[in-house]
Structure formats: structure tokens, C-alpha cells
């Protein structure tokens, strides 16, 4: 690779990477202060068992989410299916359902006494795996769909002209171009599953996050030590999964080759129906059932629903603004890191990318407390930011930037160096080259990454509860508050609004901007 990142870009990437190590430093400091014993904790069966469970669940979920995400993206973007745009949005939406809500809905839906009593009950490993697969496959689906929308049709056409069949073309020409997007999405699924607490707790599957939570107040030394172990593990995995190989195909905004699915058409459509049915329609049905059931009892005892639904207006606006701002901020912040990681061979650049990715594996509570730790310790002018909107956005970016980073890395790696070199030969400056050549080509990747951040922010809970300006309610905090005390009608209503808002924002900011 001849074209290298400017040293200034690498320096900026390194500085940003250091900021993303703040949670790790906080954990090291806490372990030291509280007297956590890393060796003893690591050797204890009370750590190893949940750790093993976490890894098994993460690997299993990554496998299923990866396969389903790639298949769904392929069918929707390249297959000849009707209602493409509708599928395009609907397939992304399960990502916005908070995992504790998704798990509660699955528990309420299946098994004897549930809404669908004939379906076998799911809990434990299988329940957690089922719920998390349905809620995380969009991490793979969104970036792969974005990549499939920008590959050059010429290669595929050439392959067909040279006599290769559809299957051979898909395997030899299309797959290599989406492989790095798939790996990037799969890493996100893996890290997310490590961080999840809501689904595993309700499904009664004992993971390391459960151990971190159950010890957080009365065995803090163990809790923070486990947090540190998780952070180091995440850093190692993120570093190992670094450097997506440059596929080197020309990016393109031309009309894509669509494949006739032939006799695969029916199974393909069934897959889409199953994913959207289980991941989106089924939870929606449960929310509606709760709403209908609870609304008939309003006025019995006490009810948070009240006579009107205006209590959801402010949280909806807050959620939308916070999510859009976070998505934009995260995209800007990760750009130099992604650029450095792809275009520089310096270790610092690679480590920065790993640092950014690793934070995503930490439970939200740990990230939030790390931000509190640093904000409180900050000198006077900076300390004024404590519990401000700006700091809340910073916490979101810290937690979720991994999602836009991976998408950006993949997009940058796919820009052919030759373009840049040609422009350089013609005397174009670095800035001009970036904005006129690379930016248009990486834009779909950036937008897909921003979409992931947007949906994640919409459902974020722990940092919002601890760090938001006082009185700043979001749809996620409204859902949590209602669920905490058993106001299921309210949980249902707020969840429906959350899904509707996500659909609107996904269309407005992601799908609408894609080439057809």
C-alpha cells in the first residue's frame, strides 16, 4: 500500500484512541483502590464459569447473527424481492428494542401460560441466544447491505460474461467484497453479547455481566476486577479482529446487479418474514397485547398512563435529538481513527482502533461510572460539564463509537488507492483528494455505521439515567421506569413509540440516502 495517512491524522487517531482507554484506566484505578485481587478472581470458579458462559453465548450468537445478517442483506439488496424498501427498514429495527424488553416479550409470548402457549418455552442459554440473535443480526445486516449497494457491477457482469454461474459469481466475486463488512459486523455482535445484561439476567443465564452486577454494591472489589477482565478480553479480541483486508474493488454508485432468486425465492422470502416476524412483529404484538390488557384496568389502583399520552412527547423528542447528535458526533470522531487504522502501519493507529472497539464490550453501567469518575476529577472549567447534555453525548460516543468505526474502516479499506494516486499526480491537495474522491465512496459505509449508533443510542439506559441533565427523559428511561414497577401497558406503549421513531429516523437518515 503506497498511499499513507498523513502523520497528523495518525497523531489525532492516537489521541482519540487514548481517550477511549479512559474506562480501562478507571477500572485499573478502581481495582487498585478497592483492593481487587486479579489473580484470585481469575482463578476462581465463580469467575471462570460465567466467563465461559459469556464466551459460548457470544460465539454462538455471532455465528447465527452473521449468517442471518449476510443472508438477509443479500436477499434484500440483490435479490428480486417485492417491497424492497419496506424490508430494508424493517430488518434494521430489531436493533432498537432494549434487550430486557425483548427478553420480557419473548418470555411473555412463548410457553404454557404465554400468549402463544403451544410454542415451547425458551430460557437459559437457548433463550438468551434466541433473543440476542434477533436483536443483534442488524449489526451485520446494515453494513453488509450498505456494502452490497456500492460494489462495482462491472466485475459481476464480467464474471457472468466469462461464463460463471450465479453461485460461482456470488462466491468468487461478491463474497470477497462483503467479507470485511461481515467480519466488522460480527465483531460488533460478539462485543455486544459480552456487554449485555438485560437479556441474560431475564433468561437466567449466568454470564460475567451478571456477576459484575450482582456484586456491584456489596463486593465492589470483585465487581470492578471482573469489569477489568472483561475490558482486557475485549481489547484483545478487538485487536485480533483488526485490519479488514482491502478488497480493492472500485466503489460504485451504479445500479446494482440483481439476481433472480429462482427456486430460492420462496425460502429467501420466508427468511425475511421469519426475521422480521420474530424480531419485530412478535415484540410489537406483545406490546399491543400489554397495552390492550392494561388499558382496560386504568383507574384501578394507580396508573402511570393517565388520561392522555402526552407524557411521551418530550421523551420522544429527547431520544430523537440525542440519537441523531450522537450518530453524527461518533462518525466524525472515528473518521481519523478509521483512516489511520487502514492507511497507516503504525502500531499506535491499530491500537487506537482496538481501544475504540473494546469499550463496546463493557456494560453501560461501567462506562457511565467511568465517565463520572473522569468528569468529577476534571479541573474546574471542564467539571462544569458534569451532567450536561454534552457530557451525555460524549458518554454515548465513548460507548458506541465502535459501531461507526468498523463501518468506516471497511469503507475506507475498499477505496482503491489508485484513485488517490491519480489525483495526487494531477496535483490535488490532501484535503481536496479526501473530500472529492474518498468521501463520496465511503459515505454509504459511514451512513450505515451512523445508523447503528443511532439505533443503539435510542435504547441506551445506564448512562442516560446516571449522566443526563436532571429531568432529561428519553423513551428508554420511560420504558425502564414503567417496567421496574410493573406498568406493562406503559412499557408497551412507549416501546411502540420507540420502534416507530426508529423507523422514521432510519428512513430519514439511512435508507433514503442510499443509491437505489
Amino acid at each position: 500500500m503506497k498511499s499513507r495517512a498523513h502523520p497528523a491524522v495518525v497523531a489525532i487517531a492516537g489521541a482519540i484512541g487514548l481517550l477511549f482507554l479512559f474506562p480501562l484506566v478507571y477500572l485499573v484505578w478502581s481495582v487498585a483502590r478497592l483492593g481487587g485481587d486479579l489473580g484470585a478472581t481469575l482463578a476462581s470458579a465463580a469467575t471462570l464459569e460465567p466467563l465461559r458462559n459469556s464466551l459460548i453465548l457470544a460465539v454462538a450468537t455471532t455465528a447465527t447473527s452473521g449468517i442471518l445478517g449476510v443472508a438477509a442483506a443479500g436477499i434484500v439488496v440483490r435479490g428480486d424481492v417485492p417491497l424492497r424498501r419496506l424490508w430494508r427498514i424493517a430488518l434494521a429495527l430489531p436493533l432498537v428494542i432494549p434487550s430486557f424488553v425483548g427478553a420480557t416479550a419473548v418470555l411473555a409470548a412463548f410457553g404454557p401460560g404465554g400468549l402463544l402457549p403451544w410454542v415451547p418455552r425458551l430460557d437459559g442459554f437457548w433463550g438468551a441466544w434466541f433473543v440476542l440473535t434477533l436483536l443483534t443480526y442488524p449489526y451485520v445486516y446494515l453494513p453488509v447491505a450498505a456494502r452490497l449497494g456500492t460494489t462495482a457491477p462491472g466485475l459481476e457482469e464480467a464474471s457472468r460474461l466469462l461464463g460463471a454461474g450465479t453461485r460461482r459469481t456470488l462466491r468468487r466475486v461478491v463474497w470477497p467484497q462483503v467479507r470485511s463488512s461481515t467480519v466488522a459486523g460480527a465483531l460488533l455482535v460478539f462485543l455486544y453479547v459480552l456487554s449485555d445484561f438485560g437479556a441474560v439476567a431475564l433468561m437466567r443465564y449466568d454470564t460475567i455481566t451478571r456477576a459484575i452486577f450482582s456484586a456491584r454494591l456489596f463486593d465492589r472489589a470483585t465487581s470492578v476486577t471482573l469489569g477489568l477482565i472483561l475490558a482486557v478480553l475485549a481489547l484483545a479480541v478487538a485487536a485480533a479482529a483488526q485490519a479488514p483486508a482491502a478488497a480493492g474493488s472500485e466503489g460504485s454508485r451504479e445500479r446494482q446487479v440483481r439476481y433472480a432468486l429462482g427456486w430460492w425465492r420462496l425460502p429467501g422470502q420466508l427468511l425475511l418474514v421469519a426475521l422480521v416476524g420474530l424480531g419485530l412483529v412478535a415484540p410489537i404484538a406483545v406490546f399491543v397485547a400489554w397495552l390492550v390488557r392494561g388499558s382496560t384496568t386504568i383507574g384501578v389502583g394507580f396508573s402511570g398512563l393517565g388520561d392522555d399520552v402526552s407524557f411521551l412527547v418530550t421523551p420522544t423528542i429527547n431520544s430523537a435529538v440525542a440519537a441523531v447528535v450522537t450518530a453524527a458526533a461518533a462518525t466524525v470522531v472515528v473518521l481519523p481513527v478509521a483512516y489511520g487504522a487502514v492507511r497507516s502501519r503504525r502500531l499506535a493507529a491499530k491500537l487506537s482502533a482496538a481501544a475504540v472497539a473494546s469499550v463496546f464490550a463493557l456494560p453501560g453501567l461501567v462506562v457511565a461510572l467511568a465517565v463520572v469518575f473522569w468528569a468529577i476529577a476534571a479541573p474546574e472549567p471542564l467539571a462544569l460539564l458534569y451532567q450536561s447534555f454534552a457530557l451525555l453525548i460524549a458518554a454515548y460516543v465513548l460507548h458506541f463509537a465502535a459501531q461507526s468505526l468498523r463501518a468506516a474502516q471497511t469503507a475506507i479499506a475498499d477505496v482503491p488507492i489508485a484513485y488517490d494516486e491519480a489525483a495526487r499526480t494531477l496535483g490535488a491537495g490532501a484535503m481536496r483528494r479526501f473530500f472529492t474522491i474518498e468521501m463520496p465512496l465511503i459515505r454509504p459505509g459511514l451512513i450505515a455505521g451512523a445508523g447503528l449508533v443511532l439505533l443503539s443510542t435510542l435504547k441506551e439506559l445506564p448512562a442516560t439515567l446516571l449522566l443526563a441533565p436532571i429531568g432529561f427523559k428519553t423513551l428508554a428511561t420511560t420504558i425502564w421506569s414503567a417496567a421496574e414497577d410493573g406498568f406493562f401497558a406503559e412499557v408497551g406503549l412507549a416501546s411502540l413509540v420507540l420502534i416507530a421513531l426508529s423507523a422514521v429516523l432510519t428512513w430519514l437518515f439511512v435508507v433514503r440516502r442510499e443509491p437505489v
Partner: protein
């Protein structure tokens, strides 16, 4: 579009900047009690006293961790916890100030901290929630100790990582000693007690018949029935004097770092007054702990329940040991 968005963000950013100097007539409350269960009362307090109240809602344990992390710079004046555990943690870390005598005198000594660092605000009773289609009341035991009987093998749901279960185990340690508590936990684990995430998850599971019975606070089933009257679940109270029918208090305390302890104490006093105590029992099915308010008809009479006596003060602290015992029992892993 972009400009409008930018303006919106700017409005947001400025509107939400924290006040630099704390207004003397504004207090900040960190509440583990959710908005539905307390905000109407706070609104009335503001109307009656003119003191502005800002509330941060969250999980009791998480807010306790937040206050401890904030240290001397915590913006909070008052903390409200769903169980004594979280305020016990704060008291143990020197984060709470002694409440004024006007506040302390409102509540009977057994429902407040001996050093006057926090008081009980309302009470929830530990019960055995059961599915009326799977078991009859006659089959249920008089004592929580009987749940280790093979007859209940695999039939009892517990929430070992939940604050109220931990408080209950602490009370058992106080009354019967660590050995008895440890043995009960181990026997429950041997008897295949089913671990769940929290009270709400247990009541849901019992309601749909996933497990016949579970140890929870009385509140959750009443709430579930309000939402879905067709639910076949009911609360069973253990016999007189059994540790199984422990009263768990939600608690309130004032921070040592509060810059307006006077207003903070006034707030605490209001929460123990007749208006608040009536709200807690009529609107949220809880037991009043002050102002001689009688419990609402929907909650069983305290006289019938006949609570066990225990040293309430120790209930808050000493939870590290309780956590250890629960860990050692193997009850936690499903």
C-alpha cells in the same frame, strides 16, 4: 434542515447546562423509587413549600454507586432507596448526615437507622406469591424454613441478586444467626430453588404458570393484578413471627455533602407526613410507617401479618457478608 437541527441542538445544550450556583431554594433528589410512585407527592411538596425539587431517577444501587463516585462534589441533597441496602451502603461509606430530630421522631425506632442517618419511608412485606391454579393456599407452608422440604423441590422462585432478597437474608442472619441462614440458603439450592432476575420477573413467571411459587415483596403481585385482573396469582403470608414475612422499608436520607440540609430535611419530613403516607398506602399498596395512617383496604392488616422483630439498623449494613453467603450457597447460578 441542517441549520434547523443545529439550532435545536444549541437550544438543547444551553437549556440543559447545569446551574453553576445552587439556588438556596432548590434541592436535588436522587430517587431509586420510580417516577410513577412518587412524583405526584413531590409536585405537592413544591406547591406547598415553594422549594424547587430536581429529581434524578434510577436504580437504587446504581444511584448509591453514583453518589459514592461523585464524593464531595455530589449535586444530590436527598437520596431515596427502594430498600435499606443501598442507603446502608451510603451510611457505611460516610455519605449520609444525621437527619433532624423532627424527621427521626416521625418513625418508630425499629424502622430507622440507630445513628439517625436514614429513616424508613414506606414498607413492603416479603411474601410467597403463588399460582392459584397450581397450588392451593392449604398446601403452602407456615414458615419460610419449610420451603426446603422435598415437597417444594424445584417449585420455589427466588431472586438472589436482588436487593430485597438480600435484605431478607440479612434479617434471617440477625435473628437466627449466620449458620442457620447459610444452611437455609444451601438447602434451598439443593432443593432446586429457581433463580430469577428480580421480583417482577418472578411474579410474571408465577402468573403464567412457569413456576408455582416465589419469594417476593407483596407490592408486585398487587400491581400485576391491577394490570391484569385475570391473572391467577395470589400473595401468601407466612405465619406470625416468621422471618419470611419481613417488612422491607423503602428509605430516605440526607447527604453529608448537601448544601441545603434544612430544605432536605423538610423534604424528608414531608415524605413522612399524612399526605405522603396516605399516598403510599392508597396509591402504591404499601404500608405506611408514620403519621398514624391506616393501611389501605387492599393491603393486609399489619396486625394479621404480625411481623418479626429484628434490628433494622443492621439490615442495611453487613450486606457484604450476606452476599458472600448467597454466593457460597450456589443459589445464584441457574
Amino acid at each position: 434542515m441542517t441549520i434547523r437541527l443545529l439550532l435545536l441542538v444549541l437550544t438543547f445544550a444551553t437549556a440543559t447546562l447545569p446551574g453553576c450556583a445552587t439556588d438556596a431554594d432548590t434541592i436535588t433528589v436522587y430517587s431509586g423509587r420510580t417516577e410513577n410512585l412518587i412524583q405526584p407527592l413531590i409536585d405537592r411538596f413544591v406547591d406547598e413549600t415553594g422549594i424547587e425539587v430536581e429529581v434524578r431517577y434510577g436504580d437504587s444501587a446504581d444511584l448509591a454507586l453514583l453518589i459514592d463516585q461523585e464524593g464531595d462534589r455530589s449535586p444530590a441533597d436527598v437520596v431515596i432507596s427502594q430498600s435499606p441496602g443501598a442507603v446502608g451502603f451510603l451510611a457505611g461509606n460516610g455519605r449520609l448526615a444525621r437527619l433532624s430530630d423532627d424527621v427521626l421522631d416521625q418513625v418508630a425506632p425499629e424502622f430507622r437507622n440507630t445513628d439517625g442517618l436514614w429513616v424508613g419511608m414506606s414498607g413492603r412485606i416479603r411474601v410467597l406469591v403463588y399460582n392459584t391454579e397450581m397450588v392451593t393456599a392449604a398446601e403452602l407452608p407456615d414458615s419460610v424454613f419449610d420451603l426446603t422440604d422435598p415437597a417444594y423441590r424445584g417449585e420455589v422462585a427466588v431472586a438472589p441478586t436482588n436487593g430485597s432478597f438480600q435484605d431478607f437474608v440479612t434479617a434471617m442472619r440477625q435473628i437466627h444467626g449466620d449458620d442457620v441462614a447459610a444452611e437455609w440458603l444451601a438447602s434451598m439450592a439443593d432443593n432446586d430453588a429457581q433463580p430469577y432476575a428480580n421480583n417482577s420477573a418472578i411474579v410474571q413467571a408465577v402468573g403464567r404458570g412457569e413456576v408455582p411459587m416465589g419469594l417476593v415483596n407483596h407490592y408486585y403481585n398487587l400491581r400485576a393484578l391491577a394490570e391484569d385482573p385475570s391473572l391467577s396469582s395470589a400473595n401468601h403470608f407466612f405465619a406470625d413471627g416468621d422471618v419470611g414475612s419481613l417488612l422491607i422499608a423503602t428509605a430516605i436520607g440526607v447527604l453529608a455533602t448537601s448544601d441545603d440540609p434544612e430544605a432536605a430535611n423538610r423534604f424528608a419530613e414531608y415524605m413522612l407526613g399524612e399526605t405522603a403516607q396516605t399516598f403510599f398506602t392508597n396509591e402504591t399498596f404499601e404500608y405506611p410507617l408514620a403519621a398514624d395512617v391506616t393501611p389501605a383496604p387492599s393491603v393486609p392488616d399489619l396486625a394479621d401479618v404480625s411481623l418479626t422483630t429484628y434490628d433494622f439498623d443492621d439490615l442495611g449494613g453487613g450486606l457484604e457478608r450476606t452476599k458472600q453467603l448467597i454466593d457460597d450457597s450456589g443459589l445464584e447460578s441457574p
